[in-house]
């Protein structure tokens, strides 16, 4: 009884110390086929990503089945660049996106049109249908 009690005590402390590591242990192989398809561009560097980043990407992958073909293509084109940003850059991008979402629709469309034109000029090709823009 004495020994069992000490075992339980030490085991509880071990669990407590390793709780974040146990909860965050997500290898590429442990992902579902849908998650692997959604996050395919990151298959090579997956195991080097931080726990929180992995968790966020897994949450992102849950939305993958609801995306249309163009959105899936954009996601795949942008994922690698997105994962290479620093956490601060990603947070800043989220803040900017949320701020931009609050801008009136008309103004937003003007900005989008302007960006599309700039992108088209960069590529030295005529502006294309926005729905088909796959710029990373």
């Amino acid at each position: 009884m004495h020994l069992i009690r000490h075992h339980l005590f030490a085991f509880s402390i071990t669990i407590l110390l390793f709780l974040p590591a146990i909860a965050g242990a997500q290898t590429w192989e442990s992902l579902t086929p849908v998650q692997q398809e959604a996050l395919a561009p990151l298959s090579k560097e997956w195991n080097t990503l931080q726990t929180l980043q992995k968790q966020r990407l897994i949450n992102l992958a849950k939305r993958y089945p609801q995306l249309n073909a163009v959105q899936k293509q954009r996601l795949h084109n942008r994922l690698e660049k997105w994962s290479k940003l620093t956490p601060e850059q990603r947070n800043r991008a989220r803040e900017k996106f949320q701020a931009f979402s609050k801008v009136p629709l008309e103004k937003r469309e003007q900005v989008k049109q302007m960006i599309r034109q700039q992108e088209a000029e960069k590529l030295n090709t005529p502006a294309v249908d926005p729905a088909l823009t796959n710029t990373p």
Partner: protein, 114 residues
Amino acid sequence: MKNKELDHENIKQLLNHSVAQLDRPTLTRLRHAREQAMTRYAARSVEPVFARAGHAIWHAFGAQHKSRLWATTLLVAIILFSATAYWNHIAKSDTADVDIAILTGDLPIHFYVD
């Protein structure tokens, strides 16, 4: 003074001489007691690391039964608090809606990145 002159060999001889004078039942009892002590010592030395660690931490909280009860309660509370805080942190940091919008929207990522 006499004690100082006794060396290791003398003590050994003295003990052997004394043992030879003991009767057989006493010798048997002594041997039996020694074997029991050795068995207990061996069992204790193979006590797993986990149990020893637990034992050490357990005693660090004091010998009183009440202190141990408090220690256990405190430990359970810390575990529950850590688990709740961790899952809250994960839930709070769920930025999937914004992330998917950035990654699938019609504006390029660099528009949002400095």
